[in-house]
């Protein structure tokens, strides 16, 4: 499989300034703090994490909707990190986005036909008649009635509006679609429709997805590989089955354990890991390993001193975790997690 996207050491720092006239930078919100991953053509990379982990910011940096402050983005072999607007415009034909809020991502004053056809117009593709035909084709592909071409967004339900957003993203045959929480705002029964649709489209059109979500069940369902983010960094990345069956990073374990199970008996039988404390503030990041204040496996003097790097763990292909004391097995209870006496895995050592 060819590599469609390579992100290396991506950083997005927002300066926090003080003073009215002479602005002095006093702190930095390190929203994305060195994230690296590759994406192969035709696959779906799920990105999970909680508030403030930087997943949305990372996605916007990849799409150059925000300017990265560090690192590089290589798309189809071309470094697009610092491309100017004109050059970037050509790249944008291949990289589209679907957003979370179906009520905010469509211009309420424009008809659906216009909204879906806008990318075609912006990139100067086709005549007006050809564009109209393409739009109707797209509406049908996403399961909407092509005769609703002249309706306004408010005449559609949330799920339908999300379909419109997807149709718009498909309009110019992109290679990569970045989906930022596309189903979070939808009812469960509608969510399933949209997920099925996205999977069908991927097969029919050979699409590659970056799929950002906080719902681990949804990510599990749609992804080939998954990246877990915490406070600006990738803490674990691996094949879907590897990560969900044998998570290596304690945070991934805690995340999986926190998800309520839709099965009362199974839920009663397991011992859930409940992390203490809140997700910390990206301005005041803990030293070294960002997760150390909440980690059941924390070792004083190591985890708060040496920043763990992403390194190969487990037996899975391309399964990496940034932890000095990766989990030996799964499932584990919190007590089992604490009771480790492992020596830290040295960077570069094979498992």
């Amino acid at each position: 499989m060819s590599e469609l996207l390579q992100v290396e050491g991506l950083e997005k720092h927002f300066p926090v300034t003080k003073g009215l006239v002479f602005q002095k930078e006093v702190a930095s919100v390190k929203a994305v703090d060195g994230v690296s991953f590759t994406l192969n053509a035709g696959e779906t990379l799920g990105v999970v994490g909680e508030s403030g982990c930087g997943k949305s910011t990372m996605a916007r940096c990849v799409a150059r909707l925000l300017e990265p402050t560090g690192g590089s983005i290589v798309f189809e072999g071309r470094d697009i990190t610092h491309l100017n607007r004109a050059d970037m415009r050509a790249v944008r034909r291949d990289m589209m986005m679907v957003f979370q809020d179906p009520y905010a991502s469509l211009n309420p004053r424009k008809r659906v036909g216009f909204i879906v056809g806008e990318p075609l117009e912006v990139h100067g593709i086709g005549t007006e008649t050809e564009r109209k035909r393409r739009v109707q084709e797209l509406l049908e592909i996403v399961g909407l009635n092509p005769e609703h071409y002249n309706r306004f967004p408010h005449e559609f339900s949330g799920g339908q509006r999300q379909r419109i957003g997807i149709a718009r993203a498909l309009a110019i045959n992109p290679k990569l679609i970045i989906c930022d929480e596309p189903v979070s705002a939808l009812d469960v029964s509608v969510q399933a429709q949209i997920l099925n649709l996205l999977k069908d489209l991927q097969q029919d059109f050979g699409l590659t997805y970056i799929f950002i979500a906080h719902d681990l069940n949804v990510v599990r369902h749609i992804s080939d590989r998954v990246m877990v983010m915490y406070l600006g960094r990738a803490v674990e990345i691996g094949g879907r089955d590897d990560l969900y069956v044998e998570p290596k990073h304690p945070y991934t374990g805690a995340l999986l354990s926190a998800v309520p199970i839709a099965d009362p008996q199974a839920g009663r039988q397991r011992k859930q890991i409940v992390l203490e404390g809140d997700v910390p503030n990206p301005i005041n990041q803990p030293t070294a390993c960002h997760f150390h204040p909440r980690c059941p496996r924390f070792v004083d003097g190591k985890c708060n001193v040496d920043t763990p790097l992403l390194q190969p763990v487990g037996t899975g292909e391309q399964h990496l975790a940034a932890c000095h004391f990766p989990l030996e097995r799964w499932p584990m209870t919190e007590e089992e997690m604490r009771g480790h006496l492992a020596t830290p895995v040295e960077a570069g050592a094979a498992d």
């Binding site: 909680e50 029964s189 069940n217 599990r220 995340l255 199970i261 009362p264």
Partner: protein, 341 residues
Amino acid sequence: MSSLKVTDLNTSFRTDDGIVKAVSGVSFELREGNTLGVVGESGSGKSVTFLTVMGLLDPRQSQVTGSVLLDDEEILGASAARLRQVRGRRIGMIFQDPMTSLNPVKSIGWQLEEAVLIHNDITRKAARQRALEILKQVEIPRAEQRIDDYPHQFSGGMRQRVMIAMALINNPEILIADEPTTALDVTTQAQILRLMKQLQDEYKTAIVMITHDLGVVAELADDVIVMYGGKVVEQAGVDDLFVKPEMPYTWGLLGSLPRLNASGGRLDQIPGQPPSLLNPPSGCPFHPRCEFVMNVCRQELPALERSTQGVEHLFRCHLDEESRARIWERKKAGLVQETAA
């Protein structure tokens, strides 16, 4: 002993576009110390049902009929004065977004004290003691310092804990929680749900947990009612509901859940979208989306009937027992296949 007994509740709103029948003929019972899960999607009527129970609807815009018995006292249509005594003292309520339910210009200490002073004839100092006590119980760190902080100084999870504190400060018999963890991260949700379970164990509070998340229901509820289009379409003990759901909407809900232990494949989607309550479907509210729809479904609302599985397991469906059992076995096999793969 039942804490709350709702019988044949109907709520309609008069709007510019017509009459919206938000709640139709809803009945259920909440027992002392139990947790009732209320499951439904947009427009199911789940939130309006409990706003009606609490008397929080504007009587100029809404029409309500039915009965709400709080320990044998009828509170539907009670006087404003009586309702004020009940709310916050016997029934506490917490909502989805803690930022909009907490007063942003008053410290949380002030708001907690207010909740106590309205219902108890004690000094401000004693009220503050009580506030501190409950803040510690909901695990707010450094409660003595934080009691004078304002809502915006707390994170989402912390604010929700403050909401829970405020709802429980007067030891109500019943706590109504409307999507309390929907806006929270999953690890924070786990903390809040654990906290609610602990407090329930300690205070023996009956909880109504309104949610669209079947996982939360499975974890917390003893009994469940499933609402659709303003009506109760199924109700059962939590184990019974997941073992043998009896009607197509519940099957659809369970089937459309992506699961942690499944591996891709197609989700059992329900076509279409939740119904408009301005123009509700005739007969069974689910019929426009039901893959097993028959003619009778379009004409007649199926009555609540008893399931052979479980005690007090009721549902609405025109399909016969044999067909339903057969269909569920088939769907279950589909779900199990996913898991085994």
